[in-house]
């Protein structure tokens, strides 16, 4: 009995040895060439570190899929579907035309009031929706943020970019209106892409900043609708910037003011207020850079406090 046991143990040892050599053989067949430097080095970050561009580039496809998700999900199970993108600015425009254009008789710089109002509403609706969804985007992705790593910046940015689809659809209605009112295009229409980019960047800047703050202070969620409403009245949407006369510079401190006036000039051929557009662009870029740094600084604690 002793002998047989001995043999069995030897056998088992031999078996183990043979499987382990087989395993090492398999492992050595696959060449895992390790880099000399760590691919990722995780250290407590210093607070003002710059953007991690390499990371963002690596995850560029994620931005695309996040945008795609937002776009696809937005009008699922709605009866009107994409028509909602037009309904909101159209009906607001009709009501405003009646109240402010007809009843209050607000001047509209020589452009028919519906056109005047729609140009403002179009860009404003995009901006307001983008900032709102972007501001709430991080809190809404809490389950992602606590479970997996990816550049968090993509979440608020994707929320803004997804809004561009609605923006484009709402432009179709504008084209119809312009045909109806026989607006003649000027070379100034070339400024349109620039203005749209600036509006997008402004929405990204504001949305990113608010979304980061929202993670820490849920007050933002309640403050956002109110803030957007105040901002609406501080922007020349229902009224022209010209009614401010020499207080116009005060209005220009709101970057949306210069952009909205810019859209009207680009679309209807009225003269551009270049200093105001320049100031808005400058403010937009400053805000964007500030928001990026703020975001970067707050990002590291997201998973712990969300």
């Amino acid at each position: 009995m002793d002998v047989s046991k001995n043999n069995r143990m030897l056998g088992a040892a031999a078996l183990r040895a043979s499987t382990s050599t087989a395993e090492t053989k398999v492992a050595s067949q696959i060449h895992l060439t390790l880099p000399d430097k760590p691919l990722v080095s995780i250290r407590p970050s210093t607070s003002w570190s710059p953007l991690n561009l390499r990371d963002l580039w690596q995850y560029r496809d994620l931005l695309y899929f996040l945008v795609l998700r937002d776009v696809k999900v937005r009008y699922k199970q709605t009866a009107l579907g994409v028509a909602w993108a037009v309904v909101q600015p159209l009906f607001t425009m009709l009501i405003f035309s009646f109240i402010f254009g007809r009843l209050a008789g607000i001047k509209s710089d020589g452009v028919p009031y519906p056109l005047f109002a729609y140009a403002g509403l179009l860009s404003w609706t995009f901006f307001a929706n983008a900032v709102t969804s972007s501001g709430n985007s991080l809190v809404g992705s809490a389950n992602l943020i606590t479970k997996v790593y990816f550049p968090r910046l993509l979440v608020p940015v994707a929320a803004v970019i997804a809004g561009l689809v609605d923006f484009a659809i709402a432009f179709l209605l504008l084209a119809v209106l312009m045909l109806y009112y026989r607006v003649e295009l000027t070379w100034q229409i070339l400024m349109l892409p620039v203005l749209m980019s600036l509006t997008t960047l402004l929405a990204i800047g504001v949305g990113m900043w608010l979304s980061a703050l929202n993670v820490k202070y849920r007050d933002i969620r309640h403050a956002l609708p109110f803030l957007i409403q105040l901002w609406f009245f501080a922007s020349p949407i229902i009224y022209p910037a010209s009614i401010f006369e020499h207080w116009r510079w005060l209005l220009a401190l709101n970057p949306m003011a210069g952009l909205i006036e810019g859209y009207r000039a680009a679309l209807y051929g009225s003269p551009f207020d270049w200093p105001m557009v320049a100031l808005s662009s400058g403010l937009t870029l400053t805000l964007l850079i500030y928001a990026t740094f703020m975001f970067r600084r707050m990002e590291k604690s997201f998973a712990d406090i969300i």
């Binding site: 895992l32 691919l39 995780i42 996040l66 479970k147 997996v148 849920r218 712990d304 406090i305």
Partner: protein
């Protein structure tokens, strides 16, 4: 060999307050800023009591191709360590160097959107896990085949059964091809066949020379998958090394010697059952406390418990395991099962494990129970367990026919197997026939 994961002096500190109040309000911070000059002085004094280290002074290295189990009690810092390794949260001190791409499966289906179809979710989920679009496209068919959902690929996942959902989610994650794969108890989901498939897939990943970190409470899975184990205790590495040794030490930790554990305050079950455990005892048949038994003697287990409010069909009992984590048996006292609603009261459940049953060896007892308090799904035995709390030994009683004649040098040898039964053998003599 150079390590693929190198962890040095890693520490992560949390504020206790942050856990209780999930978010500050702006008002608090504004008020705080105004009071800041006064607070700062006080803050330093509070510093030590208001914070705790979820992970502290953790150092280890893992070589490429190693499959390492990470074990430890709830709150030992396992999840925090994984979150640090997968870059979800930042360390407070120290650092980690990773020489390969990391994919972490801390929860399957992260980022699945219920309104999107299976196909759309594969792409979204893959991208979230760090795959490029082209990578996902090239593995798309494999993923669908692995998940066994080809018919429903264009159905929104909100219409999926939970099994299909989990299968799809695991399939996406399993087809990532990172150098380092971090898995956290994903295998606790899905049916047995799928669990087996998942374990197999993890084995494949390991055989391809990739590194796997596997966090689990399932000691059996850890033993089968991981040759090496890291045991975390109180945020620190308690032991790292050979899995069998590590798991055995882990299971025997905090074991009370002497055959009796009294809980004060009484132990409350984690599965929301209104049951308090008062004490657990192991004794011989006569009731004398002991932890040393012969293979022939019976073992008495006595559990004193109390239900503080009525429970529907409660069962209290224990799981017996060998000291290296193999489940031997489960024994539950179902005396109050027939009563349906058991009124509150303090009770003692006793049972006798017969002699001539267990083989020589070390065993542990893990007390647990389940029942229903009226909420659905509270029949959750797995979360109602205390973990091994009592240990006992069974020794060869040196009497025939059980005696094992160990050879010199094989002192620890014993009969193979967990059970050593005295089965009623019959022997007949066969008459030799001479022609």
């Amino acid at each position: 060999m150079l390590p693929i994961i190198k962890v040095e002096n890693l520490g992560k500190q949390y504020r206790l307050g942050a856990a209780r109040v999930p978010y500050a309000t702006l008002r608090d911070t504004l008020a705080g800023t105004i009071r800041a000059p006064f607070r700062r002085r006080r803050h330093r004094a509070e510093n030590s009591s208001n914070t705790f280290w979820a992970v502290k002074d953790v150092n280890f290295e893992i070589a490429p191709g190693e499959v390492v189990g990470i074990i430890g009690r709830n709150g030992a810092g396992k999840s925090t360590l994984l979150k640090l390794l997968s870059r979800i949260t930042e360390p407070t001190t120290g650092g980690i160097d990773l020489y390969g791409r990391v994919a972490s499966l801390l929860e399957v289906g992260t980022g699945f959107h219920p309104e999107l179809t299976g196909r759309e979710n594969i792409f979204l989920n893959g991208a979230i896990l760090g795959m490029r679009k082209t990578e996902i496209e090239s593995r798309f068919d494999e993923i669908v085949a692995f998940a066994e959902i080809d018919k429903f690929i264009d159905t929104p996942v909100k219409h999926y059964s939970s099994g299909m959902y989990v299968r799809l989610a695991f399939a996406v994650a399993a087809h990532l091809q990172p150098e380092i794969l971090i898995v956290d108890e994903v295998l606790a989901v899905g049916d047995a066949a799928f669990q087996k498939k998942c374990l197999g897939k993890m084995g494949d990943v390991a055989r391809q020379g990739r590194t796997v970190l596997f966090v689990s409470h399932n000691m059996d899975a850890v033993r089968r998958l991981c040759p090496k184990t890291l045991w975390l205790d109180g945020g620190r590495v308690r032991e790292v090394g050979d899995t069998y040794q590590c798991v055995s030490n882990y299971l025997l930790r905090g074991i009370t010697e002497g055959g009796r554990v009294a809980f004060s305050p009484p132990h409350r079950m984690e599965n929301d059952m209104p049951v308090l455990l008062h004490s657990v005892e192991i004794s011989d048949e006569a009731g004398k406390l002991t932890i040393l038994f012969s293979t022939r003697s019976a073992i008495r287990v006595r559990i004193e418990w109390e239900n503080v409010s009525p429970i529907y069909k409660p069962r209290i009992g224990f799981v017996m395991q060998t000291s290296d984590g193999l489940d031997v048996l489960t024994a539950l006292d179902a005396n109050s099962w027939g009563l349906e609603w058991l009124p509150p009261g303090r009770r003692i459940s006793t049972c006798l494990i017969p002699g001539s049953l267990l083989n020589e060896g070390e065993y542990v007892i893990d007390v647990g129970g389940d029942g229903n308090t009226g909420h659905p799904d509270v029949f959750d035995f797995s979360r109602g367990r205390t973990g091994a709390i009592l240990r006992f030994e069974v020794e060869d009683d040196m009497t025939l026919p059980n005696k094992y004649y160990g050879q010199e040098g094989f002192r620890d040898a014993r009969w193979p197997g967990v059970l050593l039964l005295n089965l009623p053998w019959k022997q007949e003599e066969v008459a030799l026939e001479f022609s």
